[in-house]
């Protein structure tokens, strides 16, 4: 039995489709919904097999596309893709009624598998991490920020001020998250998995830290005010 067809899972036969009616959908999306909602017969099973096969193909392509930016390799990467496809399939079937026809159905479905790949690669990062949490590799910061090696000396002063602000003015949580993601280059999803937080929570911490650091650099004459900083 496929992982995504566990007993009790994906029982969408009686789901009433929310949002636009099938007449408002493109023909392909309407066909997917009609078949995936067709009850427990062969029509729905065939649609599920087709969709799952597509999700597996997309997941494999996606892990391959991301292979250079993850320490996960080989068979483990393939396993991540299959797990992502299985879990995306379960989520899609469970949330079929949430599809409102605002995009093509297949794009909506593919979003699930792409996000599953992200999440799983973040969790798998810690099986063989190239950088440990709290490594605080401040000497790598210029490279992390894309600063030309020829300019390292010229930017040493402002980067030292960045470090001072991080160490003196950020909260402990902001400092830990900023150092992990920006200084040590730990993927944001990996840190989110390690700290049992959502990606958005980590992003918000870094967003606030960036704003606070910039305000300090402006106040101390390292940067000019103005531009987009309006929040």
């Amino acid at each position: 039995m496929p992982q995504w067809r566990r007993p009790g899972a994906g029982s969408v036969a009686s789901v009433e489709l929310a949002g636009p009616t099938e007449r408002e959908l493109d023909a392909e999306s309407a066909d997917w919904l009609r078949r995936l909602s067709a009850g427990a017969g062969a029509l729905r099973q065939q649609a599920e097999r087709e969709l799952h096969a597509r999700l597996v193909r997309i997941a494999l392509a996606e892990v391959n596309r991301r292979s250079a930016s993850t320490p996960v390799t080989g068979p483990e990467l393939t396993d991540v893709a299959h797990q992502a496809a299985d879990d995306a399939m379960l989520a899609i079937l469970a949330k079929l009624a949430d599809f409102r026809g605002e995009s093509r159905f297949i794009t909506w479905a593919y979003r699930f598998v792409i996000l599953e790949v992200s999440s799983k690669l973040g969790r798998h990062y810690w099986r063989n991490p190239p950088v440990m949490l709290d490594a605080a590799q401040w000497e790598r910061l210029p490279d992390r920020l894309g600063i030309d090696p020829d300019q390292h000396a010229a930017t040493a002063g402002i980067l030292a001020e960045v470090r001072r602000v991080v160490e003196d003015e950020l909260t402990a949580h902001q400092r830990r998250v900023f150092v992990a993601v920006v200084v040590d280059g730990i993927p944001l999803d990996a840190l989110a998995a390690r700290l049992s937080l959502q990606r958005n929570a980590i992003y918000k911490v870094i967003f606030d830290a960036r704003r606070k650091i910039r305000q300090a650099l402006v106040a101390n004459g390292y940067l000019e005010d103005g531009g987009l900083e309006r929040r």
Binding site: R57, I58, A61, E62, R65, R66, E102, S103, R104, I106, T107, W108, Y110, R111, V113, I114, L115, V117, S118, L145, G146, I147, D148, Q151, A154, T155, I158, L159, V162, P187, L188, D189, Q198, R199, N200, Y203, K204, F207, R210, R211, I213, R214, L217, L223, G227, L228, E229, R230, R231
Partner: protein
């Protein structure tokens, strides 16, 4: 771009940025607009601002576009 501009750009925050949750909630719509040649930035400026600043969400968007294009 000078090194100072690079650092300044990294530290700048855009008040239109909607964050990861809101961006991911409409990523399929945003991707379909982009894939069909429409301009998703006009309809979702806050999502565009977020994708410009958030590497992981931008990576998801790139992956979704690639997935759609592969069909």
């Amino acid at each position: 771009m000078s090194e100072w501009e690079r650092l300044d750009r990294f530290l700048r925050t855009d008040p239109r940025d909607v964050g990861c949750d809101e961006a991911m909630a409409v990523l399929h719509i945003y991707a379909d607009l982009a894939a069909t040649g429409e301009n998703p930035v006009e309809r979702y400026p806050g999502v565009a601002a977020h994708l410009a600043a958030c590497g992981p969400c931008a990576e998801d968007f790139t992956g979704l576009l690639a997935a759609v294009a592969s069909d």
